[in-house]
Symmetry: C2
Subunit: 223 residues, 2 copies
DNA sequence: GGATATATTTTGACAGTTCAAAATAAATCC
DNA sequence: GGATTTATTTTGAACTGTCAAAATATATCC
């Protein structure tokens, strides 16, 4: 069985690989995602390569093998279903559940996973809008516009918040920016780096372009 | 924070200490409960003693300190609440949940534990009838009669099954011997080492004295 | 009470995961 | 295109948790 460390390396490698067109993950990015020094990542990646879970291309980065990807998707599925359980059933704060799931993802068996999935009604996304990998190992990688890039004035629906930090999630929640909620961009001032939003029946408020870029949206029908 | 290994050592030390009048746990018992060789247990107990979690009495055994007992009770509480959740909410087989809880007990935070406890309605015992330690750190250590020792003919209620092995639990369940169910001892043949039971509207069946000793019962009012 | 059996401890080793710091390769910049 | 910056790898060490096997202490049995 994969150890907790191995599962963490593979899961983070998958998340980084998804955001890179060729699937090559630079060693430094993996190291900082895992909060280890670069030398540690090199050592571990060589061990993972020996186990056939990744391919190491020295000085260039690493790639998941199909087996490594399979393990990583299973861990990610556990992570996101656990988050969904903690929010939907235990009514925990969506800002806290990431840290909880970081541990629980390694302790849940596939049997428990299946039951949780059924209890939750086979959800497609977690509380942050992150897609939940299917049992068969497919991962919805649809890309949306963000509050930093979308059209202004038109009504929008939040679909995903791509920042797991508790501070950012608490800020987003305080302004009603959860997946499913609606809003409009009333102004975007590039020189100032500011986006101004308005929620239905709410006061306008501003956030930075960089923060806006972490909130994914789609056009909403109702205003 | 205590590591997974430390939590396992402390939890098993607590369980063994509860079954010994003076609270002294022999090294060999701890080692075999944890499935490690005796030398490993000695090494680890010395490390635990350095951390102030146990007192090591060389060649005699070990004792939990108040702090060690506090940690152990918290782990045991997690274990038993998780088992209760898996059976009551996820509808898992009571024979499987021990193995699951063995992992989950180390991954659940106190925050999740509290929510789980509330969701389950603050249960006093787990699916096997094992008492759940309270948040304040008290553990009900009531001792009952067993099917090997109780009065014959009188109606009984099963209160606890003190064997976590899947085989035994599956056997017990197949004969309707779960906490809350009722039965009568119709015969006890000491030379043969057999106890014969009868459940309401069921056929009589036999089990060994040693197996009977693992099923705790109390007098039931209704027959 | 001395021989023998049993329980415990000690010693030396190993696997896995990590860091600090030095070495090296690759990329970037005049 | 040679110097400098940046990313990666290597080296040496530490820590945790484990085992095998030898050493030692304690208990038990004539
Ligand atoms: Mn994790
Ligand atoms: Mn999430
Ligand atoms: Mn455990
Ligand atoms: Mn139990």
């Amino acid at each position: 069985m994969a150890t907790i460390a191995v599962e963490n390396y593979l899961k983070h490698a998958l998340l980084l690989a998804e955001r890179s067109p060729d699937g090559l993950v630079p060693m430094g990015e993996l190291a900082s995602a895992l909060a280890v020094v670069p030398g540690t990542a090199t050592t571990m990646v060589k061990a993972l390569a020996d186990s056939g879970l990744v391919v190491h291309e020295p000085r260039r980065g690493l790639r998941l093998t199909p087996e490594g990807r399979r393990v990583a998707l299973n861990v990610l599925r556990k992570h996101r279903l656990v988050e969904t359980f903690l929010v939907n059933v235990l009514k925990m704060d969506w800002a806290q559940v990431h840290a909880e799931a970081e541990q629980l993802e390694h302790a849940i068996s596939d049997a428990v996973l299946d039951r949780l999935d059924a209890l939750l009604g086979h959800p497609a996304t977690d509380p942050h809008g992150d897609p939940i990998p299917s049992v068969e190992g497919t991962l919805n990688s649809a890309v949306y516009a963000t509050l930093a890039t979308c059209a202004t004035e038109a009504p929008l629906r939040v679909v995903r918040v791509t920042d797991q930090s508790a501070d950012f999630l608490t800020f987003a929640e305080a302004h009603g920016l959860r997946p499913g909620t609606t809003a409009r961009v009333v102004d975007r001032n590039l020189p100032a780096g500011l986006v101004t939003l308005r929620r239905p029946r709410g006061k306008p408020f501003a956030l930075s372009l960089s923060a806006a870029g972490r909130i994914w949206v789609e056009p909403a029908d109702s205003p």
